[in-house]
Symmetry: C2
Subunit: 117 residues, 2 copies
C-alpha cells in the first residue's frame, strides 16, 4: 500500500542579519512559541552554538521535524520543516511556519523547495 507522509519544505534564507544567526536563544524561543501556536507535539530538541558564531538546531515532533543551520559569515541559514499528515493535513501549518521563520529573520531573500513525500 502506498502512503504519502506529508510536505517537507527546504529553504535557504539569505541576507539575514548576522546578529540573528549567531546565537540560537531567540530562535529557539520563537520555535517553541510557534510549535505551541500550531498545536504541534514536541518530542525533544538539540540546539548548539558554535564557537566563533553560528548555530545548529533541531526539534523532533510527533509530526516529523524542524531543523535550522546558520552561517553568519555568509548571512545565511538553511531551514527545514517536515510535517506528516497522520491525523490531519499539516501542509498549511508547514507553509505558515516557514513564513513565520522568514519574518523572524526579517528577510524576503530566500529559495524555497516544496517536496511532497
Amino acid at each position: 500500500m502506498s502512503y504519502s507522509p506529508g510536505l517537507h519544505l527546504l529553504a535557504e534564507l539569505k541576507s539575514v542579519d548576522s546578529n540573528l544567526l549567531n546565537d540560537f536563544t531567540e530562535l529557539k524561543a520563537f520555535f517553541m512559541d510557534r510549535i505551541r501556536f500550531y498545536g504541534l507535539n514536541q518530542l525533544g530538541d538539540v540546539f548548539h552554538n558554535f564557537e566563533g558564531g553560528g548555530f545548529t538546531g533541531m526539534v523532533c515532533l510527533t509530526e516529523s521535524h524542524i531543523a535550522i543551520h546558520t552561517w553568519p559569515e555568509f548571512n545565511l541559514a538553511t531551514f527545514d520543516v517536515y510535517l506528516s499528515n497522520y491525523q490531519k493535513d499539516n501542509s498549511a501549518k508547514a507553509k505558515s511556519l516557514f513564513e513565520d521563520t522568514a519574518d523572524f529573520f526579517n528577510t524576503t531573500d530566500y529559495t524555497l523547495r516544496e517536496v511532497r513525500r
Copy 2:
C-alpha cells in the same frame, strides 16, 4: 557573498520489513556506528518509539543532521541526511550513509532526491 552549504539527500524507503520499522534501538546503534565510521561529529540526538509501533529519530551533527521517520503499517520510512562542507566536501559520505541505510533496511525499493543547498 554566495555560499552553498552542501548536499541534502531525501529518501522514501519502501517495502521495508516492518520489524525494522517498529523500534529505534537497532537503527540508532547503526547510525552511531556509521557516524563514527565516517568521522562525523554528533552534537545530540532525539529518538522516540510511538505506541503501537513506529519511531522517529534525529541526530544533530556539526555537519548538519540525519533524520528518520517510520510508518510500519505502510512498510515505509523517510530518511534525510544533510551534510555541509564546512572544512571538506562531505557529499560522498552523505551518499554512502544513504546506501548504508538502505542496506540496513534490506531494501532496493526507494525514491531518492538529491538537493544541493
